[in-house]
Symmetry: C2
Subunit: 144 residues, 2 copies
DNA sequence: ATTTCTGCAAATGCTTTGCATTGCA
DNA sequence: TGCAATGCAAAGCATTTGCAGAAAT
């Protein structure tokens, strides 16, 4: 098991406390935070950290493939430190983003389907994203 | 076959030239324009039209269910006048958005799968979106 | 020692808002 | 006529940029 520091070093980017902190948050949290949420989480431990640095850092991490960027809906881009292909849920009421561990990604993330898409549209597919939109259990409970 | 005017009337919203124009563009174009692109297309025929009106109009059309909003990546939200569930392609190089007519939506847009998702995550699913990311044929051709 | 990153502040750019005017019903 | 939509300009936010100082290799 590699440490965060080793992972960053492997990607050949400079290891800084800010990068370790952002990446740690994305690895450990399951809430798919946006930049502002990451910034708020960091503030207690890194009061000097700038929002601009968070923007720059998620961009670097995305570029080297350590995080994936999700386009869900309101509230800006979300970031996920779990980079294996998997589907996501999105609650249209509270904007919560969740992972789907087991079900459907293998349906859509496979070479055969990618070939079919290429045959129909010409797109050389590199990845697929599947999002389920709806209302989460918590929000449904609150609606009564 | 209903006219654009009749369709708007059915949705119980006021029929204005601007709304007809925006909706017509979204019905007729296959390029999934963003607000700015819609505005540029309208300019020749509606030189007085304001960008703010385009924003307001796509919002109304979305609310009444005449268009769907897509979150692809760069370049802001995209709009699609074809509201049947279908998957989309996105070219990471030129930002082009395309439809997939035949292939995969039935895989992901069905009650059985929605129930599975609900069982795993608690999300009461209303709709699913499947996006394929990659490089389109035109951009691949240009890369040689 | 060199290169790259950080933090700040300013700038950018997309989207929304407020309000007077216009236009639909 | 009454209410809603438009167009304009201003305001609001999220994100990016430039740069001097700080930190990593």
């Amino acid at each position: 098991m590699q440490t965060i520091e080793e992972i960053l070093r492997t990607k050949k980017i400079k290891v800084t406390p800010q990068r370790m902190a952002v990446y740690t948050i994305l690895k450990e949290s399951k809430e798919h935070p946006n930049v502002e949420m990451i910034y708020q989480k960091l503030k207690p431990n890194y009061p000097a950290m700038s929002l601009a640095t968070v923007y720059k850092t998620v961009d670097v991490l995305k570029t080297v493939g350590l995080v994936q960027e999700l386009n869900v809906g309101e509230g800006g881009l979300r970031y996920d430190g779990w980079t294996d292909p998997h589907s996501h849920t999105y609650c249209e009421k509270c904007n919560k983003v969740g992972d789907i561990e087991n079900i459907p990604q293998d349906f859509v993330q496979n070479e055969k389907l990618f070939q079919k898409v290429k045959a129909e549209t010409g797109l050389e597919v590199s990845t697929a994203q599947l999002y389920f939109y709806g209302i989460c259990a918590d929000c449904r409970a609150q609606m009564n």
